[in-house]
């Protein structure tokens, strides 16, 4: 391993500007003559807009003004999926609090809000659907629908013959959450009259998909739309969504013909009307043998998908994913799962780091612990009995997921060893004698990442990933430009992708420039989502650099007059003689007379595409282990120790991988203990500031110990696996298992998350 190549623990190059506050985000962009946009939003969850009266002279636009603009449509081809039309501004019905009704323009945001204050809005309220179970059958919130079911998915099996000595059934709920990247959404847009092009700066993790969706809604050719996403302060899925605000502002920018427009989402807009995620309900039954061997898994799951199908992932994603991934990392011989994705008068549910995996892992892993308790078994032993072993790899599970490689039992054993199970049992008993409640909990899961064409083709949603492209260019002075269609919103790709290039070409990392986040400068890609960049963009950079290396080799051989010279460590070498990449690049660009005609014809600039050897995805996996203390008086849960055994295959950069795992775990702790976006019966969000929406703080995240295993993936370029979402998946399951372990002797259990002090006290009383 070289000091800068694949596997090197290089500090992130981008951190210097981030830590000095010199990152450049959408809100940092100012343009001469820029005006501010603000949105009049529905104050009710469900209603019909009867009219609005704007103050004289104010610039106010409604959907009636937006001629030629199409609604955002994110259908799925899954059978029975019901399509929704999400208009950029409401036509007549509003179906969630916060839904944009009108758009106003003023010199400052404050003045725009003054205009919003002065608009008289006439809305006739309709009864809202707010609970996915109670309102599944209706009344329907979309005209012409028989009920509120967006999608009903079935994995059928006849389980009537299953005879299991242990049958454990649980009803579990995961709260609706809000994604809270440090930077919210934001847009700065103008119509470029010279290029006849909409130039939109927007905080996006998927610029090309946004461009396609926006062009379709606005009736523009894709060449008439340029999307630029500068530094992005966290995405987590929210920044992949095409927003109504982007469509409305895109229309207005063209209409105003050159005036730059800006809308920066504020926290209240974000909390009260956007970026919702995660709300699931499970009715899950595990049938197991005396020794804990799973005989069958049976589940009915509901997902509250909110009012609309968000572009591009669609409202099908969570529900259908539950059906396909509920069996988790285990060998499950019989499986039945029925899911209902239910439309309600809440914001659309969006894919958040981990997507359905966090809920699925919570449901299965807490129920498996209940199986262990019911059978008087050790929860580690139950899991070990059901995990596929290393000899079973690659293992095709019951839903045809192909686990590519790994030693799942070993990960769990290492986690258990780290937690000192025997010593803990003694400490737990001693603590109980003093009235203190200690518990340990475990969870193990696998994460499919970088899954490609064959998987997404099946969903039939607006995009399907193909080969991931990278354009690589050598500059005359020997620098390397990498142009990629993915975008870094915290992944450290300016470092890791440069390391990949260094691995292939030997160009120093300092001389590698990553260009991303601009549709005009980068090749078309579906972007950053699905834990895919290390594998897909990493692979693409390797392909493009390999192609460059093949083009350089004859140049070097020619310059050295050594036909058997080889490419090695950043130079073409023959014996003691060598010619560096920089020299070859300089010769090609500035002294082509020294090369043959054939060498001059092929540029030192190439675009290559990458697919993994099999496009069903890499499967990283992890075991989370946690020790908690539950305060029986207040219900407060203290995380005393947190250990993660993570196998992300070959790590491009262990520091970056650790950062991903730590950040995700902090978010998972939020899901487990803190974060909840409650709605009242009228569909009003009850948390519109961070005083009410509780995020974990630095003091709530313990020192997390990460133990790595590195089982190479057989399908990726370097053996790397996607782990970007992993950290956010395991914590709710592991933490609630620990809480339940702490209170099991009282015959109590927590079933719903977040496990707030109130919920823990309710479980105890």
């Amino acid at each position: 391993m070289s000091a800068q190549g694949v596997g090197a623990a290089l500090p992130r190059r981008e951190d210097d500007r981030f830590l000095r506050g010199r990152g450049r985000y959408v809100a940092d962009i100012a343009m001469a003559g820029m005006r501010e946009v603000a949105f009049l939003r529905s104050p009710v969850a469900h209603g019909v807009v009867r009219g609005l009266r704007a103050p004289q002279g104010a610039m106010v636009f409604t959907m009636a003004d937006l001629d030629g603009v199409q609604p955002i449509r994110a259908p799925s081809a899954l059978p029975g999926f019901r399509r929704t039309d999400q208009w950029p501004l409401a036509t007549d019905r509003v179906r969630q609090v916060g839904e944009p009704i009108a758009m106003v323009v003023a010199a400052t945001r404050a003045e725009a809000e003054d205009i919003l204050d002065a608009i008289a809005l006439d809305i006739e309220e309709l009864p809202p659907a707010t609970d996915m179970l109670a309102h599944r059958a209706g009344p329907p919130i979309h005209e012409g629908w028989p009920d509120n079911v967006v999608l009903h998915s079935l994995v059928e099996d006849d389980l009537s013959a299953v005879q299991a000595p242990i049958v454990v059934r649980r009803r579990l709920r995961t709260a609706r959450q809000h994604m809270a990247p440090l930077e919210g959404r934001g847009v700065v847009a103008r119509w470029d009259t010279r290029l006849s092009q909409l130039e939109m700066h927007t905080s996006s993790q998927m610029v090309h998909v946004t461009k396609t969706g926006l062009a379709e809604c606005l009736g523009l050719q894709e060449s008439q739309v340029r999307i630029i996403s500068p530094d992005v302060g966290g995405g987590f899925g929210y920044k992949g969504i095409l927003l109504q605000e982007e469509v409305a502002i895109g229309w207005l920018a063209r209409r105003l013909g050159g005036t730059p427009l800006r809308w920066i989402e504020d926290r209240r807009e974000g909390l009260a009307g956007q970026a919702n995620c995660r709300e699931h309900h499970y009715d899950i039954t595990v049938h197991a043998d005396h020794d804990g061997t799973i005989l069958a898994l049976d589940c009915e799951a509901h997902v509250d998908v909110g009012a609309y199908s968000a572009y591009p992932f669609s409202a099908c994603l969570e529900g259908a994913q539950i059906g396909s991934i509920l069996p988790g990392p285990y060998v499950v011989p019989r499986y039945r799962c029925r899911t209902w994705s239910v439309a309600t008068n809440k914001p659309p549910i969006l894919p958040y780091r981990g997507v359905a995996r966090t809920g699925v892992c919570y449901a299965l892993e807490t129920t498996l612990d209940a199986v262990a308790r019911a059978g008087g078994l050790d929860p580690i032993a139950v899991r070990l009995r059901n995990l596929p072993g290393p000899a079973d790899m690659p293992y095709t599970n019951i839903t045809k997921k192909i686990f590519d490689s790994g030693d799942y039992p070993e990960a769990l054993r290492r986690a258990a060893d780290a937690m000192d199970r025997d010593g803990f049992a003694q400490r737990q008993r001693a603590a109980r004698d003093k009235g203190r409640l200690l518990g340990q909990g475990f969870a193990i899961f696998c994460e499919q990442g970088a899954h490609g064409t064959s998987v997404y083709h099946g969903w039939g949603i607006p995009f399907v990933p193909g080969a991931e492209p990278c354009q690589a260019r050598l500059t005359p002075d020997g620098g390397l430009e990498l142009r990629v269609g993915v975008h870094s919103h915290g992944q450290g790709m300016e470092t890791t992708l440069a390391q990949v290039a260094h691995e292939i070409l030997g160009v120093p990392v300092e001389r590698v420039q990553l260009i991303h986040g601009d549709t005009a400068l980068t090749p078309y890609s579906t972007g950053t989502w699905g834990s895919r960049c290390a594998v897909m963009a990493g692979g693409a950079v390797a392909e493009a650099c390999t192609e460059l290396r093949e083009r350089l080799l004859p140049i070097g051989q020619h310059l050295l007059q050594a036909p058997d010279a080889v490419f090695e460590a950043g130079a073409v070498r023959a014996g003691n003689a060598s010619v560096s990449v920089a020299e070859m690049a300089r010769t090609f660009h500035r002294a082509p007379q020294n090369l043959t005609e054939a060498m001059q014809a092929r540029g030192l600039e190439c675009t290559a595409g990458h697919k993994t050897a099999r496009d069903t995805g890499t499967f990283s996996y992890a075991a989370h282990a946690v020790e908690v203390e539950v305060d029986p008086a207040t219900g407060h849960v203290d995380l005393l120790r947190y250990v993660i055994v993570e196998d992300g295959g070959v790590l491009l950069n262990p520091l970056v991988a650790d950062g991903q795992v730590l950040g995700g775990t902090a978010q998972g702790i939020g899901t487990a203990l803190f974060e909840e976006m409650p709605y009242d019966a009228a569909g009003q969000p009850l948390a519109s500031t961070f005083a009410d929406y509780m995020l974990p703080g630095a003091s709530d995240v313990p020192d997390i110990e990460i133990l790595h295993m590195e089982t190479p993936s057989p399908i990726s370029r370097f053996g790397q696996k996607g782990i970007g979402e992993s950290g956010a998946i395991g914590p709710p399951a592991a933490i609630v298992n620990a809480i339940n372990d702490a209170i099991a002797h009282l015959g109590r259990e927590v079933t719903d998350i977040p496990a707030t002090p109130e919920r823990v006290l309710a479980a105890l009383s």
Partner: protein, 245 residues
């Protein structure tokens, strides 16, 4: 989330501030409560008067029996020991648990008292310490009783807190402080304070309440629901245990 347009005035003297306040201006010190309320348009003042640099509101004086802190003393100044401590560490302990550092850098003792959020720390602490608030109208108002109801104080219209007179705890006197909240820095769900000879329940959706015994909570705080009464009892019991440990 931008405020309505308002005029901003900086008062050079207390008299100047009093004139502006009498005309209806809102006083702005650290702005850690008023700022968000302005942004949420919960308050829409025509004029805001900046009082945080008023000479009379800064600094401190010490006597044999008391410490008098200017009302514009920040939480961070207390936390860092940049003003004397006469409470054997209680006030420094409390200050470091208020919100987070950026808020503590700007938020002020007097502002927190005058804002009168029952879930804030200082109204309870000052009541427990038997402090006295000095005002721009020359009044001396005992901290116990200053907070009349949530966000309602004994101040008259246009009157501001200028200083807080804090009695010295005897050397070696112990105290206990228990704040129950979801996470460090959040507003309290319950506060229990035990000083020599005194018990207090705070963050009780009303005035911080001195108690003779923990058992008095249901009778003294009848407006709280049983769960909140229970939490108050836990906080006071734990504070008592901390003091007596």
């Amino acid at each position: 989330m931008k405020p309505v347009a308002f005029e901003h005035a900086t008062a050079a003297t207390l008299d100047e501030a009093r004139t502006l306040l009498a005309a209806g201006a809102k006083p702005l010190a650290g702005g850690q409560s008023l700022g968000p309320m302005l942004n949420l348009r919960l308050v829409r003042p025509e004029r805001v008067v900046d009082i945080k640099r008023l000479p009379g509101l800064r600094g401190f004086t010490e006597s044999a029996t008391h410490l008098t802190l200017g009302a514009a003393t920040t939480h961070a100044e207390i936390e860092d020991g940049r003003v004397p401590d006469v409470t054997n560490g209680l006030m420094r302990h409390v200050a470091q648990g208020i919100a987070y550092r950026a808020v503590r850098n700007r938020g002020t003792l007097g502002g927190s008292l005058a804002h009168a959020d029952p879930a804030a720390d200082w109204p309870s602490v000052m009541a427990a310490l038997g402090a006295t608030l000095l005002t721009s109208d020359g009044r001396r108002i005992p901290a116990d009783g200053f907070l009349r109801a949530p966000f309602t104080t004994a101040l008259d219209a246009g009157e501001i807190v200028t200083a807080v007179e804090i009695p010295r705890l005897p050397p070696g006197a112990r105290w206990g402080y228990c704040k129950i909240n979801r996470k460090i820095g959040e507003f309290a769900k319950a506060i229990g304070i035990a000083t020599p000879g005194r018990l207090l329940a705070g963050a009780v959706e009303g005035p911080p309440t001195l108690l003779d015994r923990v058992e008095d909570i249901p009778a003294r705080l009848p407006w709280l629901d049983p769960a909140a009464q229970r939490l108050a009892a836990i906080a006071v019991t734990r504070a008592q245990a901390m003091r007596d440990a």
